[in-house]
Symmetry: C2
Subunit: 220 residues, 2 copies
């Protein structure tokens, strides 16, 4: 379709800048995660729980992407962590030039780990490489177990999949076995972490995996 051809120059430019971001982050020894999910799936909550678990071990910063508002960056700053808010205007995903502007505002020499919270969107966010080491997605239980069928791309692009709000499993018809099977067929290598920020369930499995990724990069 026309859309894809017309967008190609944007993607080319984006990829060049992403490569430059990647080199900068590598030089500074910073591991970078691009976190993707639907609106309201619990990205900021998961980030706050991840910060709480890892802040004694690593110096962390967060880049927040939203169409409008600085609600999320304020929450991160309240946790004592440097945060930059990007407002994309009407654009439904982050692009490399936005990330570069945010990196210019962060104390890169003192950081080990940057979490990028992408705009709430299961589609466009997957198409833009930002220079990150890994894309990871969250699907929340209330969204339903059929989402891998409808949005296969994001499940294929993600290095790990968090299933959030597992404390609400009794309220929703979410078939975890079926979900695991579908995700497994789309992306056999991606671990799936059921987590609940309310009960704390599964958070340690997730953060252990994350630490392994960060340490693997340090050794590389």
């Amino acid at each position: 379709m026309t859309h894809i051809d017309i967008n190609k120059p944007i993607l080319d430019k984006n990829d060049r800048l992403a490569q430059s971001n990647k080199e900068l982050l590598h030089k500074k020894g910073i591991f970078t995660l691009d976190l993707m999910a639907s609106p309201g799936a619990g990205k900021t909550t998961a980030i706050l729980a991840t910060i709480e678990a890892l802040k004694d071990r690593y110096n962390i910063a967060v880049i927040e992407g939203d169409i409008a508002s600085n609600v999320d960056a304020l929450k991160i700053k309240a946790a004592g962590i440097p945060a930059v808010q990007i407002n994309t205007g009407g654009i439904c995903h982050l692009e490399s030039d936005m990330i570069r502007s945010a990196l210019d505002q962060l104390p890169l020499d003192n950081l080990d780990f940057i979490i990028i919270e992408n705009v709430g969107n299961l589609v466009c966010t997957t198409e833009f490489y930002l220079g990150e080491d890994a894309k990871v997605m969250i699907l929340s239980v209330p969204e339903g177990d059929d989402k891998p069928h409808k949005y296969p791309g994001i499940f294929q692009t993600s290095k790990a999949v968090l299933v959030s709000k597992t404390d609400t499993l009794p309220v929703f018809d979410f078939d975890m076995d079926d979900f695991n099977k579908t995700v497994g067929s789309l992306n056999p290598k991606a671990p799936i972490f059921p987590v609940s920020a309310k009960s704390g369930e599964g958070m340690s499995d997730w953060t252990e995996w994350l630490v392994a990724q960060i340490e693997a990069k340090r050794l590389s």
Copy 2:
């Protein structure tokens, strides 16, 4: 930003086709609704409940938009209603040419009301006029009451706002008063309908409003 300028030809082409869709639908006396929401907010469930309430009064058809799969169209067809599934590939919203292809497959002479279920997305869906009479959005309680701050565009574009899954209000921290106030400041004319497909709460207020819209078009 460059993105917007480069997309302009697509939007122009889309608007021309939307106008043509609008004229066709007007000629056939069909009221058309474009339903937008995040993935998993309950669009298909709301459509099924709306069909159940209005199927004796109107001849209804549904156009389903998804990146992939025909899960939703199968659910609608199981309810005995004509349904066309559009798979957009990687595109995060429906466009007018896709709607036209779907209209070509529907028995327009026998229809009163078409519901378009757009791709799960709070951003791009708002930017494309498809020829519909009204855009309406659903926000589900689990997504959180802060969404109007983060995605103001969709709340401003919608002629009505459904708040779904209200049966889960006891499980989530969702401040309905605060939500109503924020939506009211963005779009004072849009009615807000709290609904629960599980308990049936609010569905009659929603369908009464919808009937008033359909009848108003018939009289125009």
